[in-house]
Amino acid sequence: MRDFSDEELERYSRHIILQDVGIEGQEKIANSKVLVIGAGGLGSPVALYLAAAGVGEIGIVDGDVVDLSNLQRQVIHTTADVSVPKVLSAKAKMEAINPNVKVTVYQKFLDASNILDIVKGYDFVIDGTDNFSSKFLINDACVLANVPYSHGGILRFGGQTMTIKPHESACYACVFDSPPPANAIPTCSSAGILGAVAGMLGTIQAAEALKYIVGVGDPLYNRLLTFDAKSMNFRNVNFKKNPKCRVCGGEGIKEIRDYEAVVCEAKL
């Protein structure tokens, strides 16, 4: 049990009066550790909402610096942050929103050599990355380390997300098997992204993390939520864990390896 200060009780009062959260749920949130991989379009809203919600410890990973072209959607960064490392820019905003939150920054990109050690220390992971080699690497690491996580992908006016509880629900590779070849699939930098769509998908991921931590509702297990902001149609596609899955199936993976780097860069 932890004693919330009067300041915290007031700050979290709208959570605490929520019947499915309450003081017990807020304690779970305060005692939780969430890792946000990528401080970009998805990572920005996730990090802001998790900090505001009072997640006890938030790790944030990104090796990049803020670019002017990020500001159309990466709402945690401001014009004054251009050229600043994204993790430092993000940490400053998160602490400004909620000084009760401990923010740990990892100013690097994740690869097979470091991802397992970082992921292991967290209760839940958010995939906010922008390339398939990272998305599959995160899936592998979370399955191996047995850490639940939220997959998120966005493109143009669309988004997709699913929540994965390793060995219990279908993983990303159950659905998509392996990364597509380099340049086979358009990226946000080559095909564009409506800024607000990043916010729509990121806030869904943040809600999934909080639901998991509190233990309320039905996470997006065994289903892919997809939406198209042009029609504003949302769909759930249901599936089952694939017993022959390359990653989480019978044999499964035993170790982490890097996928061929699929560089996500602007081709103008």
Binding site: G40, L42, G43, G158, Q160, C188, N238
Partner: protein
């Protein structure tokens, strides 16, 4: 026959195969789409063996790699 494709029910001629359906539905990059029929994923190398039946529910799931 009636097929439900990504949630929409459509009337299509009998006996079409999965590769034919991918063309009819204008699926771009058919080798990049994850196909699910009646809750089962169809491996890429098995597409040509699949003939669709009345009432099949088909979902096309697309890669989305953006996030930053």
């Amino acid at each position: 026959m009636k097929l439900t494709i990504n949630g929409d029910t459509k009337e299509l001629k009998d006996g079409i195969s999965l590769p034919e359906l991918l063309i009819i539905e204008n699926v771009e990059q058919p080798d990049m789409v994850s196909v699910q029929i009646n809750d089962e994923f169809i491996r890429q190398d098995e597409h040509t063996n699949v003939v669709l039946k009345d009432g099949d529910e088909i979902n096309f799931l697309y890669f989305m790699g953006g996030g930053a």
